[in-house]
Amino acid sequence: MGESSINFAKASSAALQDQQLRGNFRRAMDGLMSKRAVQFADTAEWNGVRALGASVRLRALSKLPELLEKLEANCTKNGIQVHWASTTDEANAIVLSIMQRVNAKLVVKGKSMVSEEMHLNAFLEKRGIECLESDLGEYIVQLDEAMPSHIIMPAIHMNTKQIAHLFKQKIKEAEYTEDVAQLTDLARRVLRKKFATADVGISGVNMAVAETGTLCLVENEGNGRMSTTVPPVHIAVMGLEKVVEKLEDVPPVISLLTRSATAQPITTYVNMISSPRKAGEKDGPDEIHLVILDNGRSGIYADEELRNTLRCIRCGACMNHCPVYTKVGGHAYQAPYPGPIGSILMPQVEGLEKRGELPHACTMCNACVEICPVKIPIVEIMGRLRSEAVHPGDAVRGAGSHASKAEAMVWKGWSMTYASPLAYQFATALLAKLGNAAPASLPLLKEWTNVRAKPRFANRTLHALAREKGIPDV
């Protein structure tokens, strides 16, 4: 493992000690799972809309370069300025140059995972531009100087008490209260002033429609609409996979997204933006910029299997259903995208040398695959990345960086033994005789026996028993 490698095991170990955190996640995820199940109680409907959603995403991927060109052409025709960024550095530079041109001092942000991927807030603040998160969850996390722990519910790791203390400590006019309505109202008052005076609004994009040059955003709070309507300049940042072909592709994807994410039939707002303020219109931004970010996605796209990662519509349901995520929470992943999708996306975006441990943060239980609304074969990709991590190659950055001679030898020895009936029966007979004498302090066995009894080898193998009982061999 390289020096820059992110240590998931260490971070998760700390999270596991935090009983409060474990309780917060367990309660929240249990609630989300049962509410989602109600939304998709009609199996035939679920199968139908899921197949449709997957087909929409696959069709978009099948024509990705053409659709991006079409999106660019239609956005441009509508007056939306389109920018392309190969890396997050380029994307940040584009955003900054727009800010500088309009002399922006204050930015209000709607929720955007791509901007998290860009570390945009830190980048702008270093350059003297105040960057205020306006989604309540993101605002809480920003006040706490932390990272989101979930892509849909950024502050899900905190309970009301913790947030009450945070507000009291960080907001000047705050009185201590654990009343959620009052806490929400406080944030409303603070942020309204900011919306009214911000120079630029930044948002993400849930879907961009090539056919019409339309940016779709879904949200409940209204901060997304505020950020994209009140400031004179709106900058939308999106990963290049977020395009869909037709306007009619939007309804099924939104339906899957909101029901999978938060078990709502629809969010309070579906906001479709197709142009800046036109002559005669009285509000809306005068400029809209769309920044299309690659950041490794075109590389992912080149591989037939890994490409499926790009189907994702960022609903976060895989997190809610992941037994590992539920135990350790989002921060243990130390990534903008945690949970199952993060464990396959981050290693591909940032390289296996840094993120090679993440595909192992998974028991391969397939709970995520079962509920993924666009049928991403998450666990298969997980397995593929495990293989890439220990074998040098070109498909993924950092392939082979986790190769270990010792581990490779073990598997080689294993395969030679297990592929030869003679060697296998000799080895297993030996283990049946002597295996139980192995001390629990042996590596691996030690990890196992921390909370479990030592597995006991049977006196005779099934092979031996079957022979004894006269079970035919052919």
Binding site: L52, L61, E90, T160, N220, G222, V250, P251, A302
Partner: protein
Amino acid sequence: MSESRNAILGKLRAGRDAHPLTPPESDFAVLRNKRWDGAERLERIKRMMEAVHTEFLETTEADWPTDVQAFLKAQGTRNLLFGPATEAGGRLSAEWAEGGPELIPYADRVETFKERLFDGIDAGITTTLGAIADTGSLIVWPTPEEPRLMSLVPHMHLALLRADALYDTFWQAMTENRWADGMPTNALLISGPSKTADIEQTLAYGVHGPKRLVVVVIR
């Protein structure tokens, strides 16, 4: 950065051409088959929207301006932002009685009255293009006469809904009306007052947008 543009598109094209992908057919039947009969649609819309704290005011074509005024007066609302150049706006100014909440026209660019908009407006009223039974959503297309912020900034949003302008699904509304032929600057679905569950999954209403949404059903 056209360099990046060409590099990205080139890489995508090469990747796709090396491994083309045949997507399955998109079968929209699952949306097409979602149908409710006339009376059921409005029932369902009410039920779904009320579940997320939307209020409903039943009225008629003849009486709606009077009913809206009476409603607002009873709520203690000080003023109402409206679009004077729309047909509905015309009726409001013509039929608004003395002594009610003050009618405030959204007649100029937002820059001229941003402060008041954010600080001094209690309610805003807009028309809608109808509502959707599947999800309980209003369809709102802001226009120069009825700008975008009217349904967002005031603490209460009143939305006029004609009881015969109902659709089964979002998909039906957009395909039947051929939205793809020309999208407006901004098209919205609004399905309740602003809300959040970001504090420990506890629902709270009115976080940034309107605290109350009142659908004025005109029969």
